[in-house]
Symmetry: C2
Subunit: 348 residues, 2 copies
């Protein structure tokens, strides 16, 4: 039995759900992979907890569910203890960095935690787009220099293994085009607008459904899709794109009459993220509300579905779609990455 | 630069295409992965060729394209030299076993070649379903015992990484259901029948298009789909299914009136391969012509598309589809597997 000690930073929607599910998965992980996961540290915005003998993920989840902080964890929690200090102090094998995207503050504290963990020889798994958008190449090189793995399959299209599929299964190919609908909110809102629902009402419903968070500008102005496209283009096409390279148009200015007309012609409007290989080998990146005809591989996405299409020279056109009615697949992308680090063989 | 010596058994549609494309890919493989592939041996049904310094894949492809045998390869070819003898004699790192499915003869010569290669410490990559259907568990154990890898992503749904996606990216999940349309011919023929084309004419067109081979019974009676389902269920659900476990119904007895009626209701008929998890943890396997409604994840497949749907407990419902207008993606699945063996990191 191989023990794996992990630290979890960020206990919001993804971190808390991970704690809930991982408890149920313990017997399967032991039996199928001979792995014993131990949560030794956890941090949220108000504090952190550490116990080398292991915290109970179910208890952490319950504290968060009740509106508390992990700082309240009996005997192990400390109010005001920062995530970075926890990572620096912890003896652990892996960091799961699940704090929310925070580009306004330089992707902190996620970025510093990831750097610190890798310098200590810890592997890193993160569904947080911020650090990768800000410092893709630096973090990639740092992982290599420290002989650790940096995995981030959950950054794009939730629980869809879009990055794994693109980076691993397209090896040897020239990727001619990446098309993705990696964001749920924008499609959900445009579907409602086309139904005749007013803008404010559509946003309110998205908020009620839990698909819209904060002031919404990150999603609605296309930043979320652009960030995901940047990560996809780096990881799958190995092209060093940045946010500045993305021609970006969100859905805040979208014309409802255009959406309605498209609907009547059987087209689906989605905020399409696209990277197109240019003759010189560079990629042109755009995020634009786009009418998708029915016969487009993403032309029949439901409002809780995301997808990606890779057009390649030698592997045909490969489409992958996820139906993700709740955030559990997004949260569990961290388990996928973690198992991919520790389970050697592809086959059981 | 890491040199990789490989032996290619089988120079039909897949083996020959592989030879054609691999020549063009040499610079990319060197630059991107620091790998130098060398074809040191090749065999077809009439003979074999071996040169420790390397054969020219383009020349092998040209000989086959002209209707010849690799036994004619100048200086290295020998008529009547069998594939197994070649594998036993060759000094090489990997066997690419691409001979056609041959269940009638115990999946030979593929099965013996694979066994011999693994016993010599060679990795094996194969898109040949036969050996895996006949001896999945034995080959799996043999690979483990010899410390080599056995990879077969190309056995299911051509160039779609259906197995990689299922076996790797669903780790940690309980797979509740596998649904696949892994065979092109049956969908192509049923589409024509629904168009009003007569059976014989539909088969003739499938043959002209190159999607139907031999007497067709392997595809039309559902054996091909059943074999792929058996492999999927073993590799993805880790359940030891065999061909005998598959409730199998091909398309030879399909009622054209039923196809036409389904078409009028907007449904797509496909030979659906399905493995459904039962309460006790076993899987029930079936291959049955099935009407797929438009909102089924595979309900809008084109006649040159194949797909798979995984319904899981923690990763939602994941669908993957390939548009494969020619056999190149199927052939190049061997490159995908080969690179996955030799390229360590997921990211470049």
């Amino acid at each position: 039995m191989q023990p794996i000690r992990y630290v979890l930073v960020g206990l919001g929607n993804l971190g808390r759900r991970f704690c809930e599910v991982i408890v149920e998965k313990a017997p399967l992980l032991r039996e199928r992979y001979d792995l014993e996961l131990a949560l030794v540290g956890a941090a949220d915005s108000r504090g952190a907890a550490y116990d080398a003998n292991g915290l109970d993920p179910a208890r952490v989840a319950a504290i968060k569910q009740a509106g508390g902080s992990v700082a309240d964890y009996p005997g192990a929690g400390r109010a005001g203890w920062g995530a970075l200090a926890l990572v620096q102090a912890a003896e652990a094998d892996v960091l799961l960095e699940a704090s929310p995207v925070n580009l306004a503050q330089g992707a902190e504290p996620g970025l510093s935690c990831i750097r610190a963990a890798m310098r200590k020889g810890m592997h890193v798994v993160t569904p947080n787009k911020g650090p990768l958008v800000v410092a893709y190449r630096e973090l990639h090189d740092l992982a290599k220099a420290n002989g650790v793995q940096l995995r981030f399959d959950g950054t794009v299209a939730g629980g869809l293994p879009a990055i794994n599929l693109g980076a691993r299964d397209l090896r040897g190919a020239v990727v001619r085009r990446i098309e993705a609908v990696p964001n749920l909110v924008t499609g959900y809102v445009m579907d409602l607008l086309a139904d005749g629902v007013a803008w404010d009402e559509a946003l309110a419903r998205a908020r009620d459904e839990g698909v819209l968070e904060g002031d919404g500008s990150w999603d609605l102005e296309g930043w979320d899709a652009a960030a995901k496209l940047v990560i996809l283009t780096n990881a799958v096409a190995n092209f060093p794109a940045t946010l500045d390279d993305v021609q970006r148009d969100g859905i805040t200015g979208v014309d409802v009459a255009v959406l309605t007309a498209a609907r009547q012609q059987g087209q689906l409007y989605r905020l399409l993220a696209r990277a197109e290989r240019q003759p010189g080998g560079d990629y042109a990146l755009s995020v634009i509300p786009t009418p998708l005809p029915l016969d487009h591989p993403l032309g029949r996405l439901g409002s809780k579905q995301m997808g990606v299409v890779y057009t390649t020279d030698i592997y045909g056109v490969i489409t992958a779609i996820i139906d993700e009615p709740d955030p559990i697949p997004s949260a569990m992308s961290m388990l996928r990455d973690l198992l991919d680090i520790y389970v050697e063989s592809v086959l059981q």
